[in-house]
Symmetry: C2
Subunit: 386 residues, 2 copies
Amino acid sequence: MSVPMRDCHREITAWMEALGATVRVDAAGNLRGLYPEMKAGAPRLLLGSHLDTVPNAGAYDGILGVVLAVALLEELGGRKLPFGIEVVGFSEEEGVRFGVPFIGSRAVVGRLDEGLLMRKDARGISVRQAIQDFGMNPAEIPQAGLDDGTLGYLEFHIEQGPVLEKLGRPLGVVEAIAGQSRMEFRFVGRTNHAGTTPMDLRYDALAAAAEWITVVEREAQSVGGLVATVGSIEAEPGATNVIAGEVRASLDVRHREDAVRTRAVEDVTREAERIARARGLSVSWETRLSQDAVAMDAWLAGEIEQAVHKSGCEPQRMVSGAGHDAMILAEKVPAAMIFLRTPGGISHDPAESVAVEDVAKAIECGVHLLDQLASSAEFLKRTGRA
Amino acid sequence: MSVPMRDCHREITAWMEALGATVRVDAAGNLRGLYPEMKAGAPRLLLGSHLDTVPNAGAYDGILGVVLAVALLEELGGRKLPFGIEVVGFSEEEGVRFGVPFIGSRAVVGRLDEGLLMRKDARGISVRQAIQDFGMNPAEIPQAGLDDGTLGYLEFHIEQGPVLEKLGRPLGVVEAIAGQSRMEFRFVGRTNHAGTTPMDLRYDALAAAAEWITVVEREAQSVGGLVATVGSIEAEPGATNVIAGEVRASLDVRHREDAVRTRAVEDVTREAERIARARGLSVSWETRLSQDAVAMDAWLAGEIEQAVHKSGCEPQRMVSGAGHDAMILAEKVPAAMIFLRTPGGISHDPAESVAVEDVAKAIECGVHLLDQLASSAEFLKRTGRA
């Protein structure tokens, strides 16, 4: 909720107002532009993504989805639909400042509670204080909540992975957001002199951790759709001429099916124990995060698939390995996502990019999708207010 | 060259003077006590070890060898031998302060050169300055050099490893000090999102390094007497949810035969290349140290073996995996070492210990050894001055 964010809000507000939307910033710092429905009192469709990003980031993660939503309003050319369209630019999706992601979307589903408001950034400023400093009133957070007549949430986002590029497809239909487990493992052996300790008298924590990392990789390679990563490792004492007595290593496991993920976590944990025991070491672990998979709305996914087809592309059904605001919105309303091919799978990096042609296809797909939804009695019936 | 070192010098000086030795501190900070020979002008035997140690160390590494030398003078009970005995307490063996080990013993063999004197500690104080601050004159370093009539150098030292304990033998006869190679390897892959990058599209530098570490361990286990250690590892960016794009890992390889060590280094380097290539990564390496093995004097080792036998122990011929002052002295004079069993192999740790019985055996062995040398025409002829 910084000066650049204010500039960003001002710019997008101007675009949306020019297209006939009424724009406000809610008390959680989300930018919200309401493009009116054909007939007052009709339900609304949410369309958006997040406006924040990470340090040293690229230019597309998040904001592309908001710009695409505005582009779709522009494509309507003043035409009204049987539902209103609320464009949302969520705040604080990445969790960089307060260490907790999805602050903006949590407010929208009514989960920005007191605990979260007390959470402080590195300089000791709480979420509550940051909201006030941005000129907003934390007491008005309840008004950031979803309108009763919300039909659903649609989010365009770059894939941030290499799958669509690899397959040569510009657009992906997200079926689910993978569940994830994050853990920390600690192998404890014995620090010894690298020169005076024969190989058969060692209790080398790094050799044990290395063996385990190769097992984690093999396990993930053997199960379809499973990803498992050891991204962080620390060896103590960490000297060239000293056998490591302790190693801490992280584990990140994701899969669309919670049972598969849970089984994989059990497998690699058992393997860690087996490796440690065989070497006379001990191993312990802590679970830092265990988050279930979230299904996207199947009906909306089907509609997206049709719309992708109509725009001349082969749709790719896929699972998102990363979390997104859509995951939070799905708690309350039917939610769906469309991924855009990400060159090199590169994201969270200044080299992050997206092809102009792919963005054009996304807009074309979005227009088809809005038309499909506007003409679907089934969709408009969903909130019971259409 | 600190206050505790001055106290240490004062204490040992008092012991040696009481035994009839003439004590000085040379310009490199080595404490040197000369116990006179039977007949003036006879050659001398050097007996000692180092007086410095590492931070958070035990009480025996180094200093035990100096104390044992003094104990042997005491055992002589005033008796003179056909050679003088110079007890040396070397300074700066560990290399903690200036990052360069063996400063004291280098001075004794004439290798404390200008480059080394200019070397600075963490506070910017040079070796030269530290010598002056200790009240000594760097210009007098040449006088620290070996006397022409030096017969050899004997060093008692704790093993700092688990071998003697494992074999149930109190004393070891060091045949050689292993050569060592120290290297740093750098695996470069590609940083990617741990959730959105399928297993088959990864260039995981940590998975590659882990595979290599297991290969390094296997290689060392397959070659007799070889030790190879990866003790230090760093993964970048080092986050739980990010695939590591770069890993730096150290390598320490030691063996008594330089050809075996060199071949092992070539093998694991080739393996690093093979692993990196198979995964689409690159790998590079730098050699930080390549130090040849140093043989101890075979004749002296044979005499030590006999003396160990005479003291009622089974001698264990062995290779020192760690460097010692004896390695430096061997450049100029016949050098030999006797290892004392080290409980648990624990060293450079407050838990470092040695059994009183083993120290008694070491003294008994030392007395036999001095008697053997005193009665060996062969030994006394070695410098051509006896």
